[in-house]
């Protein structure tokens, strides 16, 4: 299936969770806001939220750096 992640297409397997997507993208920075189709995914929902073909995912990293 194909997702849109931060504006770019991302091809992945069926049944991928948000947590799995973060791993695939190496998105390891902890301060971030995740939206799937404009809906906020809360921290505790990250492991269990399953993505579907065509989902628009935004992983907004907040500002880091010293």
């Amino acid at each position: 299936m194909t997702l849109t992640v931060n504006g770019d297409p991302h091809t992945c397997g069926e049944g991928l969770t948000v947590e799995g997507l973060l791993r695939e993208k190496s998105f390891s920075f902890p301060l971030r806001v995740i939206l799937v189709n404009k809906q906020v995914v809360r921290r505790e929902q990250v492991p269990t939220t399953v993505l579907h073909d065509g989902d628009v995912v935004e992983v907004i990293h907040l500002i880091g750096g010293g």
């Binding site: 931060n6 504006g7 770019d8 190496s26 998105f27 390891s28 920075f29 902890p30 301060l31 806001v33 995740i34 906020v40 809360r42 921290r43 935004e58 992983v59 907004i60 990293h61 907040l62 500002i63 880091g64 750096g65 010293g66």
Partner: protein, 661 residues
């Protein structure tokens, strides 16, 4: 999962869940007094007593610290449970009859006038009821261990060591804010704020966030900024081998867990009054292997992320002991670890490229990764001798020296020498973030990241795609970050811990709740109400004045915002080839140039023209947004609007530099 029944309601919980947590999950209220999610359960007040039945016997336990391990029936309102709670509250009421929280709980439990006369009856409505919340929070949450119980039985009380003002107290007021009776007051306000309570309220909220949330967020309290090393490598942003690459397979050797294992000091060091973030870390007992203090066991303040990256991965050094030793001697000699790391990375690349050799370095092998060579250069710098005398002058002067004395190509040195305005770059790769290239390049004191750190917004989130978007970010964030400097405040409490609901705040990158907190702080301090825009305006005045000052000192024009190409894109063939797919795709999709028929040299040249052109367009957009001329100088209209035209000589200086409007 374990099934428990609480007052007839069934619920399932993980093993180890307390009865109190399970009851809240099941919607059953149990009164509690000495309990707080900020600290470990204690069970001292016994107000949460309930009756449990495991099928064999029934008994009274405290709900807050009873971990559920097997199916159980819990009765919170059985006759025996109620009688126990009433007795506990009756005794408390006998001792502290005027304390509101005790009176309230007693009223709810149906306790009337106590039957006892307590020998230590205390009529103070703000009396300490010995719940221990303050002691435990200072110990477990704040890590300062400033408060403790003293005495036994009736004489038990909360106090500081020897009853004195403890030097280790940073004044975070966590104890006062968690106290359920208002027994703790802070009276020492040396700065005489207009409204101390308003500042304390804002501070207490930050303390709560640090204590509650940091463990789920940045782990600043455990490892400080060193938590960033592996994260930056994940995003291809960690400087490796003089900023050539952004990641390295040996990064796990210098990841945060390696430093956490040797950090022996981690309490807040009081650098900022009231702050509990405790980001500063130190290593005790590091035995030095080199230099004048060889063999001594020393305390090393750090290392932080910038030291691990600039003086570690950027040098190809992946040995924690070596980074700690570089950290120690930099501190010992008064040398900045960022500048030292970045200048050494330049030296190493020059050595690798043949610009330097053993003869020119006085016999030192300065190949990338050379720990011995790196430390020897540092010692020579301090002594002012040998190759250290050259290296110690920094990247900008080394470029000239290497060209003049060793015949090196000045253009190549300019491309790989990571400095601007004479200052060495700090520890982030910015090739893929045009906004950060500007953040570094336009920064008033040179390429440090304290003015703007926009890499995630730009490169990862793609929130600021246009030149105007980037220019707006390069207006707001440098002004906002400058404000911390103006007020002697630290930026870490702004966005290295964030409120639980920041995600839904509308502008999470700005952390609006914390910006509001700083407004509260200013209002509490000065007695004048301020809005976020007022704070930005304060900064804008100073920032523009500093830009004019730079101009006066010969650093305030467009030419001084130029950056080395290494900060913009791949200088060498090896760099291009290491991320060829990315660069080829950008040529095709962004620059509209088909790379297929081009040689590698032609691709590099085309990418360079494209990226350098975009940097110039960015400068145009930023200068326009800031009200500066195309040469990067504040206009007369801008300085008048900010009111800094009244500074003697300022307008004349601008006019002498060709500013007419």
């Amino acid at each position: 999962m374990i099934q428990v029944t609480i007052d007839g309601r069934k619920t399932e919980v993980e093993p180890g869940t307390t009865i109190l947590a399970a009851a809240r999950q099941a919607g059953v209220a149990i009164p509690a007094l000495c309990h707080s999610p900020l600290v470990e359960a204690y069970g001292v007040c016994r107000v949460c007593s309930v009756e449990v039945d495991d099928g064999r016997r029934r008994r009274i336990v405290t709900a807050c610290n009873y971990p559920l391990q097997k199916p159980l029936e819990v009765h919170t309102r059985s006759e025996r449970a109620l009688r126990t709670r009433r007795l506990v509250l009756e005794m408390m009421l006998a001792r502290w009859p005027k304390v509101e929280v005790v009176r309230e709980l007693a009223r709810e439990a149906g306790v009337g006038e106590p039957r006892f006369v307590h020998p230590r009856r205390n009529e103070n409505p703000n009396a300490c009821i010995l719940c221990g919340l303050c002691v435990r929070l200072c110990d477990e949450g704040v890590w300062h261990h400033v408060l403790a119980f003293e005495g036994r039985g009736e004489s038990r009380r909360v106090t500081t060591p020897y009853g004195d003002q403890p030097a280790t107290c940073v004044g975070c007021m966590a104890c006062a804010s968690i106290c359920p009776t208002g027994a703790i007051h802070f009276t020492d306000d040396p700065n005489r704020p207009a409204d101390a309570e308003r500042i304390r309220r804002a501070g207490a909220e930050l303390t709560r966030e640090v204590v509650m949330l940091d463990r789920h967020q940045c782990h600043m309290r455990e490892v400080g900024t060193a938590h960033l090393t592996e994260i930056m490598s994940d995003y291809d942003l960690l400087p490796v081998h003089n900023y050539r690459y952004g990641a390295h397979p040996d990064v796990p050797k210098i990841a945060s867990d390696k430093f956490k294992a040797v950090f022996t000091q981690g309490v807040a060091d009081g650098c900022s009054l009231g702050c509990d973030m405790a980001c500063a870390k130190a290593v005790d007992g590091h035995v030095l292997r080199t230099g004048p203090d060889r063999g001594k066991a020393v305390v090393v303040d750090g290392p932080e992320y910038e030291t691990v990256s600039c003086a570690g991965s950027n040098l190809g050094i992946f040995e924690p002991w070596a980074i700690i030793e570089i950290n120690y001697y930099c501190d010992h000699y008064g040398v900045d670890t960022i500048s030292f790391g970045t200048l050494m990375a330049f030296v190493m690349e020059c050595y690798e490229a043949g610009v330097l050799d053993r003869e020119r370095t006085g016999g030192l092998d300065l190949s990338p990764g050379s720990i011995e060579g790196t430390l020897e250069v540092l010692h020579q710098m301090a002594r002012g001798e040998g190759f250290g005398l050259i290296a110690g002058q920094g990247v900008r002067r080394m470029k000239r020296i290497f060209a003049e004395r060793f015949g090196a190509d000045p253009a190549y040195l300019q491309d790989i020498g990571m400095e601007a305005k004479g200052l060495e770059y700090s520890g982030y790769i910015c090739k893929e973030s045009l906004a950060q290239q500007g953040g570094y390049g336009i920064a008033l004191k040179g390429p440090q990241h304290d003015e703007a750190w926009l890499i995630f917004m730009d490169m990862v989130n793609k929130q600021i795609p246009t030149f105007e978007d980037k220019a707006e970010a390069l207006h707001y964030f440098p002004m906002w970050r400058t404000w911390f400097g103006l007020n002697g405040l630290c930026k870490l409490l702004w966005n290295d811990v964030e409120p639980e609901d920041n995600a839904t705040s509308g502008a999470p990158a700005k952390v609006p709740a914390h910006v509001r907190g700083y407004c509260e702080f200013v209002a509490g301090m000065t007695g004048r109400e301020v809005e976020p825009a007022d704070l930005i305006l304060q900064s804008e005045r100073v920032y523009n004045f500093q830009r004019v000052f730079n101009l006066k000192m010969g650093f305030g024009r467009r030419a001084h915002d130029a950056i080395p190409y290494r900060a913009q894109g791949p200088v060498t063939e090896a760099e291009y080839l290491s991320r060829q797919e990315r660069y080829d795709r950008q040529l095709k999709e962004e620059a509209g140039i088909d790379p297929a028929p081009l040689t590698l040299d032609e691709r590099r040249a085309a990418l360079r023209r494209y990226r350098e052109g975009r940097y110039e367009q960015l400068l145009d957009a930023v200068y326009k947004r800031r009200g500066w001329t195309r040469d990067g100088i504040p206009t007369l209209a801008k300085v008048r609007a900010l009111g800094i035209d009244r500074v003697p000589g300022l307008v004349e200086l601008l006019q002498a530099n060709g500013v007419t409007e």
